[in-house]
C-alpha cells in the first residue's frame, strides 16, 4: 500500500528566486521527490492560490502588502511552514533599505534619478504598497523551520525535505551549514 502523497507549496516573496534555483539543484532527487509529493501553488505549477498543503516553502522576506497576503495564505493552508534562505530568515539584501526613510527612497528612484523628469511615485491601486521596513517572515506569521544559506545548497534542501517527508525532525549537519 502506498502512502498518500504530501502536498508542497512554494513561493518567493521579496527574494531573487535563487533559493528556488537551488531547489532545482537537487537534480536527480527530483525524480524521488515527485514520487513522494505533489506540488500545489508554486512557480513550477503556476497555480495562483495555495490550497490545503502539508509543507510550505517560503523564499524572501516581507516588503509589501501583497507579500503579507501571500504569506498569510500559506500560513493558513500549510501544516508546516519553512523559511528558506537568508532573506526569509533575516530580511537579507532587500532589508538594506531599512536604514533609509521609505519616502526618500521612493523619491530617489522615481523623481530624482538621472534621466527622469516629471516622474512621480506610482500610485496605481494595482500595485502593492511597500511596508516602511522589510521584515523576516517570522515577524509576520508563525514559522516552524528555518533553512539558512544564501542560497541553501541543493543537498541542504534535499536533506531537510527528505527528513521532513520521512517524519524525522530535520537535522542539518555541520557540512550543510558551513558556508566559507
Amino acid at each position: 500500500m502506498t502512502r498518500p502523497k504530501l502536498r508542497i507549496a512554494t513561493t518567493s516573496l521579496a527574494g531573487c528566486f535563487g533559493c528556488h534555483m537551488s531547489f532545482l539543484d537537487i537534480d536527480e532527487h527530483l525524480f524521488e521527490l515527485v514520487e513522494l509529493v505533489e506540488f500545489d501553488r508554486s512557480p513550477l505549477t503556476d497555480i495562483k492560490h495555495c490550497g490545503p498543503c502539508d509543507i510550505g516553502l517560503i523564499e524572501g522576506g516581507v516588503c509589501n502588502a501583497e507579500n503579507v497576503h501571500v504569506l498569510r495564505e500559506f500560513r493558513n493552508n500549510c501544516k508546516t511552514l519553512i523559511a528558506v534562505g537568508a532573506c526569509a530568515i533575516n530580511g537579507g539584501l532587500p532589508a538594506q533599505r531599512n536604514h533609509l526613510e521609505l519616502g526618500a527612497c521612493l523619491r530617489e528612484v522615481y523623481e530624482f534619478r538621472d534621466g527622469l523628469s516629471g516622474g512621480q511615485v506610482p500610485n496605481d491601486p494595482e500595485l502593492p504598497l511597500l511596508l516602511d521596513k522589510v521584515h523576516p517572515i517570522h515577524e509576520v506569521v508563525r514559522v516552524d523551520y528555518f533553512i539558512p544559506g544564501c542560497p541553501p545548497s541543493g543537498p541542504t534542501i534535499w536533506k531537510f525535505l527528505s527528513d521532513l517527508i520521512a517524519g524525522r525532525t530535520p537535522r542539518l549537519t555541520h557540512s550543510l551549514m558551513h558556508f566559507d
Partner: protein, 599 residues
C-alpha cells in the same frame, strides 16, 4: 593638547606604567578630562605599551567610562524595580523636562546629561540617583526641583546641601555580626594565638559558607589557596555588590569596614598571602575616602603592613580598586580580569582562582560579608559560630529588605529564618511575592512564605524585595530582563542574543502584541540561556521569567492579544508612509490585523 598629554603621563607614572592598572588609569584620566577622547586613549596605549584596541576595548566595556562628552552634571537614575515602584521614572521625566534635555542625550550646552543606571544599592532609601558619582537618596518632586535649580545656576556638586547625599544605614535588626563590639585587632589576636594551622581548623569547624550567593565553604577555598603552588598568594574582597536589591555590603563598608579588612587579614594569616585587593563597585565610590582612612588607621596601628601584630613574617597590605559600572564583574573571574585592567569577561573554570587567579597567582575571592563573618569565627571559635543557623548554613545572614514594607533596611537573622518572619518584622502586611537573592535569585509566591532562608531551602546573596498585592509580577520580571540585557557582557552568543530576545518578547507582550506561541518561544529561549551560556549571568538571566511564568502565569496570559501568532508591530501602520506618499487610501492600501490569520 599639551594639557591632556601632561595629565595622561602624570597618571600613568603614578601607576608605574603598569598595564594591569589600565582601568584605574582610565577612571582617573576621565576624572580630570570629563570623558575619554580618542587621542587620549592613543596616548594611554602608547604610554603603557599596549595595543590601541585593548585600551579602547576596556574603555568601551564599562558603563561609567565615556568615549564621548557627557554633561558637566551627569545624573544617573537608579533603575531597579524598587526605584521604579517609588516613582523614579516620573521623577526622571520631570527633571528632564525642567532642564530641557532628552533622557540619554547630552544637553546642547553640554551642561547636563540624564539617564538611567542599574541598581545603585540604595533600595532602602530610594528613589536614588548618582550625580557626578555621588549618591542622592530619597528623591521626590521637591528635591528634583531643587536639583534642577542648582544645575541651572551651575552650583558645583560639592557645594550642594549635604542632606542630599545623606545615606543612612537603616540597620533594623542586629545579631552576632552587627552587634559585635570587637575592637580592631581583637580577632587577629585570637587567630594569631592559635597559629596559622589552628586558625584554619577553627574555620573548618565553623563550616562558614560564602555569603555572595554560591555558598562555597570558605575554609576549603582558603586551604586550596594555601596549598596551591606559588608563594605570591592574593586575597580579594569582592565589594562589587551589583545584584539588584542588595545593599548589605554598603552598610558593612560604611560602618563596619574594620571587620571587613580584618577578615581579609585573617584570610592572609590562613593562606600566607601578602597582597590584598578590595574591588569596590563604582557606585560605592563615595565610600572610597572613608575606606582609605580606615586602611591608613590600621597601618598605623600595626594591623596591616610588615610584621602584623608583631608576628615576624606576617606581612599583608590592601589596595582598593574601583569598578566602573559592570554587574558581571561581581562574578569572581570577571572581577579578576577587571582587577588586571581588562574587560570584565568571565574566565573558563577550571582552573579555579584558588590556583590561577589574579595574574595567574593563587587567589582567594571572598564576599564582603563572608570576610566580616570570619572575625566572629576568630573571636568565638568555630564550634560556637556553627551553633547558630541550620545544619548546612551556619551563622547569621544579612538581608537587604526593600520594596513594599514599612521598615526597609538591613536585618540580620540566624540562617533558617522563615520568609513570613522577615515579612512580619519589616511591616509587610500585604505581600504577594518576595524576590530573594536579587534579579538572578528566586521569586517566592505567597504559598511559599513558610520557606526558610538557608542554602538548603531559599539561598540568597541578601536581596529581599517585597511586592504587595498591587504590583504586577510581569512588570517585575520585565525590569529584571531589561537589567540582564543591559548587563550581558556580550562575550558569548547565547547570553548576548538570548537576553535581547527575551527583552524583545517581554516588550512585545507589554505593548499589547502578545500571542500564545510567544510563551512557548520564551520558554525555549530561557532553556537556551540556562544551558548554553558561558557564565552564571547568562544561566541565571532567565530565572525571573521562569519563576513568574510558573507562579504568576496569568499576568502573562492576560497580555495576550491573540491565541494565534501576532506580529510585534502594527502591519497597517507600517503602510502609512507609503499611503502618504502615494496618496492612496483604497482597501488594498490597508492590512487588516485579524483577517486571514486563523492558524
Amino acid at each position: 593638547m599639551p594639557g591632556i598629554e601632561r595629565c595622561v603621563s602624570e597618571i600613568v607614572t603614578r601607576h608605574g606604567a603598569d598595564p594591569s592598572q589600565l582601568l584605574q588609569i582610565l577612571i582617573q584620566v576621565q576624572d580630570v578630562i570629563g570623558y575619554l577622547p580618542a587621542d587620549c586613549l592613543s596616548l594611554i596605549a602608547e604610554a603603557l605599551d599596549l595595543p590601541r584596541a585593548r585600551v579602547e576595548g576596556v574603555a568601551g566595556f564599562y558603563s561609567f567610562l565615556h568615549s564621548r562628552p557627557v554633561g558637566r552634571y551627569r545624573i544617573l537614575f537608579s533603575d531597579n524595580i524598587t526605584d521604579r515602584m517609588l516613582g523614579a521614572p516620573a521623577l526622571m521625566q520631570a527633571l528632564c523636562s525642567k532642564l530641557w534635555v532628552e533622557p540619554g542625550k547630552l544637553s546642547e550646552d553640554g551642561l547636563v546629561s540624564i539617564t538611567t543606571t542599574s541598581c545603585t544599592g540604595m533600595c532602602d532609601q530610594g528613589p536614588a540617583a548618582l550625580i557626578n558619582g555621588r549618591p542622592v537618596t530619597r528623591l521626590d518632586h521637591r528635591r528634583i526641583n531643587e536639583i534642577a535649580e542648582l544645575v541651572r545656576q551651575q552650583v558645583p556638586v560639592s557645594a550642594w546641601p549635604a542632606a542630599f547625599f545623606n545615606v543612612e544605614d537603616n540597620i533594623r535588626r542586629r545579631d552576632a555580626l552587627l552587634a559585635s563590639t570587637a575592637a580592631p585587632g581583637d580577632a587577629l589576636r585570637a587567630a594569631i594565638r592559635v597559629g596559622r594551622e589552628g586558625w584554619l581548623t577553627e574555620m573548618e569547624r565553623s563550616r562558614l559558607r560564602g555569603r555572595g550567593g554560591a555558598g562555597f565553604t570558605t575554609a576549603v577555598k582558603w586551604k586550596a589557596c594555601r596549598d596551591a603552588d606559588g608563594a605570591d598568594k592574593v586575597i580579594v574582597c569582592n565589594a562589587d555588590e551589583g545584584e539588584p536589591g542588595t545593599f548589605k555590603d554598603r552598610v558593612l563598608l560604611a560602618s563596619h569596614a574594620d571587620l571587613v579588612f580584618e577578615g581579609m587579614t585573617l584570610a592572609a594569616w590562613a593562606t600566607g598571602a601578602q597582597k590584598g585587593f578590595m574591588y569596590l563597585r563604582g557606585e560605592y565610590r563615595y565610600l572610597l575616602e572613608h575606606l582609605q582612612a580606615v586602611l591608613e588607621r590600621r597601618r598605623a596601628a600595626g594591623l596591616l603592613g610588615a610584621g602584623i601584630r608583631g608576628q615576624a613574617g606576617f606581612d599583608f597590605d590592601i589596595d582598593i580598586h574601583l569598578g566602573a559600572g559592570a554587574y558581571v564583574c561581581g562574578e569572581e573571574t570577571a572581577l579578576l580580569e577587571s582587577l588586571e585592567g581588562k574587560r570584565g569577561t568571565p574566565r573558563i573554570r577550571p582552573p579555579f582562582p584558588v590556583t590561577h587567579g589574579y595574574l595567574g597567582r593563587p587567589t582567594v575571592v571572598n564576599n564582603v560579608e563572608t570576610l566580616a563573618k570570619t572575625t566572629l569565627v576568630a573571636l568565638e571559635g568555630g564550634e560556637a559560630f556553627a551553633a547558630t543557623g541550620t545544619a548546612q548554613s551556619t551563622g547569621t545572614k544579612l538581608l537587604s529588605v526593600s520594596g513594599d514594607c514599612a521598615y526597609p533596611g538591613i536585618y540580620e537573622y540566624p540562617f533558617g529564618v522563615s520568609i513570613e518572619r522577615v515579612l512580619e518584622d519589616c511591616g509587610a502586611s500585604d505581600a504577594q511575592a518576595v524576590q530573594a537573592g536579587g534579579a538572578s535569585g528566586v521569586l517566592i509566591a505567597g504559598y511559599e512564605f513558610h520557606r526558610r532562608v538557608a542554602f538548603e531551602d531559599v539561598p540568597t546573596a541578601g536581596a529581599f524585595m517585597v511586592f504587595d498585592s498591587g504590583r504586577d509580577a510581569f512588570e517585575i520580571a520585565r525590569n529584571f530582563v531589561d537589567f540582564f540585557a543591559h548587563e550581558s557582557c556580550g562575550f558569548c552568543t547565547p547570553c548576548r542574543v538570548g537576553t535581547s530576545l527575551l527583552k524583545g518578547y517581554m516588550d512585545k507582550l507589554a505593548s499589547g502584541h502578545g500571542a500564545k506561541p510567544d510563551l512557548a518561544d520564551i520558554e525555549w529561549v530561557t532553556r537556551l540561556l540556562k544551558n548554553a551560556s558561558h557564565c552564571g549571568l547568562g544561566s541565571s538571566a532567565p530565572n525571573p521569567v521562569i519563576d513568574t511564568l510558573v507562579k504568576f502565569r496569568p499576568t502573562f496570559e492576560r497580555r495576550l492579544e491573540s491565541l494565534h501568532f501576532e506580529p510585534a508591530f502594527d502591519l497597517d501602520a507600517a503602510l502609512a508612509t507609503a499611503r502618504r506618499i502615494t496618496g492612496r487610501d483604497d482597501a488594498a492600501a490597508h492590512l487588516d490585523r485579524k483577517k486571514e490569520t486563523q492558524r
